[in-house]
Subunit: 359 residues, 2 copies
């Protein structure tokens, strides 16, 4: 790509991001406005959603917009709505994931459950009531955003066949994400031994389907790409998604909290079954720390011992090697794919960004 | 209506109910089938949803189908899909309502949370894990059904304007139900004094919008009814919905558990803010029992005293008089509405059934 082409592409991506921000704000503030006719707390809920939406990096919408243009799409307005849908789906899943994990914080700040719980505690609610109120608020916010995402897609002005393809993709995406989330909770109970294959399948379902496949394949459907292009994008997107999640699991235990915004204790306390853990379990040294894993009271003094065993078992090196292998594999897939050069550039950059990131 | 016409109408309603059952089963069993490619527990989740769906009385789908025919609609297949969507939305909201209330039973049997929690307790999960697993399963089941309901509506083969009207109705319905549910949880914390007006508005939002307005107005949109018909149906449906809920609140405290399938303790333990309670609060005798209300440990020996105060405060008689007033008002509305006679018959029967039912 020439330098001018890069500049143009960057400028387009910059403009697109602004358009997505603007449209998200419009969609959500309309709803905040409507909610004022109901109870004050309902308006607060929509305001909390607006704040959450304003804070995000919009990684998925940017991915969609860039792929859409690279695939020759020209109807920016339709693509912006689809990009908003992808972001709203992400917010809905994150909110419901926090309900499932009973988290009150997200990236070091009170999430919706936390904000609502704190507010009523101050007003005299019991701890039990406050926590139920926080959870109810998050559960409803997630429902509303999930439905808003789907509604946006259902309203796209598209020929019938393309519209059905978009709806199919949304259905499949939610079906898989829910399967992955369900399996993640299952694995964290450790009722049966889990294999690295189980863990990788779960990551693929829980994250890759909605965070990578959905934005890229939506872009292709909207741009009117051939089925062969969609098939190639599907395969590559899922592979990148798993790389992203493997890096995420490493950062969750060994990352710099200031950079990631995520406590390196929470995955250990939760007993989150990652590939690191699935590997470390097979080492004799695991027995000595097994009781610490999944201990909700795990202290900052005990965690380093657990991390040391995971590292010395070879678990960390193993996952790094899996990431490196998968990166090579993805680069091969991209190399041999019949995709437009601009799309290949995007996928190559995305792979590097996902595998090498430190936040 | 002549006797023959009644027979024909009954036969049509009977056939419609069978078609709805069949289509629901088809939709859900397809998904159970697909879920088998994922974890066994995910397939169990879909099976639990199938059982739940098979057990219902399908009140809302029947309402929609009957109104659709009465309004002159002839595309039974489209109406059946819309009827399934209404039922799926109901199931989703019921499941999420149980998550919010932390209920493990529904109509005396283990609900999805209960079934999933019990199963893993037997396999050695801790109580904390089992309850989190049950809740996660219900939360995800609700998400999946909510989205399936919306997906069915989005796929209806309709002219653009009618399709958008259907999507608008779904959006508004969920927006209001969520507002009502949120306000219901808020009122049950009793952080501020609530008025009968608050309680009635909450009932209208939480139940009337999705259980009565949505099926009747969907029928009218699909049948291509005039906006004036839709406006009249909207008003009448909401009024009937509130009557239904007022009767429900009475049955929740004073009903026959064997007939209703619902414990007459649960609303009291939950501290559910109904019109009965809003009225009883204004009576001096309330102070003597206030501490019992919302007590999660309320015993079967203490409840009668609470019920006695609600009755002797005049609360029960007040709510009965509100129901009677509202029934008269609805009958007047139906009488003066410009609706087809068959629709008026349906609405009249519905009003009577909602106000006088004992289960």
């Amino acid at each position: 790509m020439s330098e001018t082409a890069v500049d143009v592409a960057d400028a387009a991506v910059f403009d697109d991001a602004a358009l997505v921000e603007e449209r998200m704000l419009e969609l959500l503030s309309q709803r905040t406005q409507r909610s004022r006719a109901f109870a004050p707390a309902y308006a607060q809920l929509w305001q909390a959603v607006e704040r959450m939406a304003a804070g995000g990096k919009k990684v998925r919408p940017r991915m969609l917009m860039r792929a859409y243009h690279a695939l020759g799409g020209t109807d920016t307005r339709t693509a912006v709505d689809a990009a908003c849908a992808v972001e709203l789906l992400h917010l809905a899943l994150v909110i419901h994931d926090d309900v499932i994990d009973k988290d009150l914080l997200r990236r070091g700040e009170l999430n919706i459950s936390g904000q609502f719980a704190v507010e009523v505690m101050v007003r005299g609610a019991t701890r039990h009531e406050a926590s139920a109120w926080g959870e109810a608020s998050s559960l409803l916010a997630g429902d509303l955003l999930l439905s808003l995402a789907q509604s946006l897609l259902a309203r796209l002005d598209l020929p019938q066949q393309r519209r059905l393809a978009v709806l199919d993709l949304f259905d499949e995406t939610l079906f898989e994400s829910a399967a992955g989330e369900h399996h993640d909770v299952w694995l964290s109970m450790h009722l049966e031994a889990s294999s690295p294959t189980d863990v990788l399948a779960m990551l693929d379902q829980k994250t890759a389907a909605y965070s990578f496949r959905a934005p890229l394949v939506l872009a292709a459907i909207l741009a009117g790409s051939e089925p062969s292009i969609i098939a190639e994008l599907t395969t590559i997107a899922r592979q990148i998604g798993v790389i992203y999640q493997l890096r995420d699991d490493i950062l969750g235990l060994f990352g710099d909290e200031r950079a990631t915004g995520k406590s390196t204790l929470s995955d250990l306390r939760e007993g989150k079954e990652t590939l690191l853990i699935a590997y470390a379990r097979s080492d004799p040294s695991w027995q000595g720390v097994e009781a610490l894993f999944g201990d909700r009271e795990l202290s900052i003094m005990e965690a380093p011992e657990l991390r040391r065993v995971i590292e010395q078992s070879g678990g960390l090196a193993f996952v790094e090697s899996v990431i490196a292998d998968r990166c090579r594999h993805v680069h091969d897939l991209i190399g041999s794919a019949a995709l437009p050069p601009a799309v290949k550039d995007q996928l190559t950059e995305l792979t590097t960004a996902c595998s090498a990131r430190d936040s």
